[in-house]
C-alpha cells in the first residue's frame, strides 16, 4: 500500500526526472519525535510533529487479543483486534463528546508520520511483540483511511477467503530484498476499477514486481520507453512498475512483510493517478483492510 509520507515523496520527486538504467535504493524517515514506553504486555507513548501530538496505547487484554487506542487532533481511534480468529472492531469518534467524525487529510498526514516513526523504532515483524506489532498495523491502516470510508467498522479476515498471499512475487533474483539484476518476477496484473474504466480496462492494469527492492525518494519506478522513471504512471496501458514495496500492506516498506493480492490492487489504484484518499480506491482499501491486520509476514 502507498507510502504514508506520500506528500513528502511527491514534493521531492519534482526533481527526480528520468533516470536511465537500474533503479536505485532510497530511504524514508519520520518527521517527528516518538516516545515509547514498554510495560507488561503493553506499549504506550506519544508522537509529536510541531504542535501536533498523537497519544497511543496498545495492550494485550487477554491472550492474543489487543486493545488499541490512538488520540490526535480531537479524534479518538480505537481497535480491538483478535488476529487468531481474524476478527476486529474499529471505531473513531470525537474525543471530547463521543460524536461521529471523519478521517481527514491532516489526520492521515499525522498518522503517517507516527507510522513511519514506529517502523523506524520498532523491531520488524513479530519481534516487536504483539501490542506494538498490532499497534503498528492499525496505525498503518488508519493512515490510509479515505475520507469517505466510515471509521466504525468490523473487519473479518481469513486466508484464502479474506486475503490471498502473493509472497512468491515479492522475490526477484532469488531474494526478498536488494537488486533484481535484471531477473524480475512480474505479477500480472495489479488492477482496479475507477472513472477511467473497469478491472478489464488495460489502463487500470499494471505489471508489477512486488517486494522491497528499490525506491526513489519514497516513490516507485515505472518503465517508460525502455528506461526507469521515478514516479507513478497515470493510467498507462499495463506499465511495468517496481519499488517502494509494491504490494505490501501498510505504507511503503512498513515493519511487517505482508504481500497480498488486495494490497497489490490497492497500490495499483492509489499509485496509478489516484490520490490516496480517492473515493475510487475505497473498495480496494476496504478489501485490503483484513490483509493489513491479519495476513502473516512473508519472511
Amino acid at each position: 500500500m502507498r507510502n504514508a509520507i506520500a506528500v513528502v515523496a511527491a514534493v521531492a520527486c519534482f526533481a527526480c526526472g528520468t533516470e536511465q538504467g537500474t533503479p536505485t535504493d532510497g530511504t524514508s524517515s519520520a518527521q517527528g519525535a516518538l516516545q515509547l514506553a514498554w510495560e507488561d504486555a503493553a506499549v504506550r507513548g506519544t508522537y509529536a510533529e510541531d504542535e501536533d501530538v498523537v497519544r497511543f496505547a496498545s495492550r494485550e487484554v487477554e491472550p492474543g487479543v489487543f486493545d488499541i487506542e490512538v488520540e490526535l487532533q480531537g479524534l479518538t481511534l480505537t481497535a480491538v483486534l483478535d488476529p487468531e480468529n481474524g476478527a476486529s472492531a474499529l471505531d473513531g469518534f470525537t474525543t471530547e463528546t463521543g460524536e461521529d467524525t471523519q478521517m481527514l487529510e491532516g489526520d492521515r498526514a499525522l498518522l503517517g508520520g507516527l507510522y513511519a516513526a514506529l517502523n523506524a523504532e520498532l523491531p520488524a515483524g513479530a519481534e516487536a511483540g504483539g501490542p506494538a506489532r498490532y499497534l503498528r498495523r492499525a496505525v498503518g491502516l488508519w493512515a490510509q483511511n479515505p475520507d469517505s470510508v466510515d471509521l466504525p467498522r468490523v473487519v473479518m479476515g481469513e486466508e484464502g477467503r479474506g486475503y490471498t498471499m502473493l509472497c512468491s512475487y515479492a522475490k526477484c533474483n532469488g531474494s526478498w530484498t536488494g537488486t533484481c539484476n535484471g531477473y524480475y518476477n512480474w505479477y500480472s496484473y495489479a488492477k482496479h476499477d475507477c472513472n477511467k474504466g473497469g478491472f478489464s480496462y488495460t489502463g487500470n492494469q499494471q505489471i508489477a514486481q512486488l517486494g522491497d527492492h528499490y525506491s526513489c525518494s519514497g516513490d516507485e519506478y515505472y518503465m517508460s520507453n525502455g528506461a526507469w522513471v521515478c514516479g507513478e504512471p497515470d493510467h498507462w496501458v499495463r506499465p511495468k512498475v517496481v519499488g517502494n514495496c509494491f504490494g505490501r500492506c501498510g505504507g511503503g516498506c512498513g515493519g511487517d512483510t505482508q504481500y497480498t493480492l488486495d494490497a497489490t490492487n490497492h497500490d495499483g489504484c492509489v499509485r496509478n493517478g489516484h490520490a490516496l484518499a480517492s473515493a475510487y480506491c475505497d473498495d480496494q482499501f476496504v478489501s485490503a483492510s483484513d490483509d493489513e491486520l491479519y495476513a502473516p509476514d512473508c519472511y
Binding site: 496505547a57 495492550r59 460524536e99 475520507d147 470510508v149 472513472n195
Partner: protein, 136 residues
Amino acid sequence: MRSPGSHLRTLAGPLPAACAVLLALASGTSACRSTATDADAAVGVVQRFFAALPAADCGALGPLLAPDTQGRPCDEVVAEMNAHELRLLEIASAVPDGRDRDAILVRAQLSQDGKPLKQPAVLRVVRHDGAWRLRP
C-alpha cells in the same frame, strides 16, 4: 486519553447530553434545533446535487459544491463523477461532525457504473459562504 479497555464511546459531553434531554422533552434549545435543521439542509444539498448530476450543468451544480480541496473546477469534478456514473441510491443518516460544527457527515449508499458500492460513503457537507455545500 482513556486507558485501553475503555474503548466504547461515551456520549457524555455537555451539549449532546443537554440536547438529548431537551429533544426528549420536545422543547429543544435553538442550538439543538439548528443541528437538526442543518442536517436536513445538508441532506437536501446532497439530494439536489445528485438529482442534477446527470445533466452536468455547473450553473445548477456549482452553487451546491464547496471549493474542491485539489482546486479542480466544477466541470472537472462533475465530469469525473459522471464518467463513473456516480449516483445516489439512498441516504442513511446525517449528523454533525463532532470536531467541526460547520460540517455535516452524510452517510449515503452510492452506485458506480450501475453497481452499488460495497459500503456506504461518508459525504462531507460544509458551511461555505453562508450556505451548505457538498465537499467534492
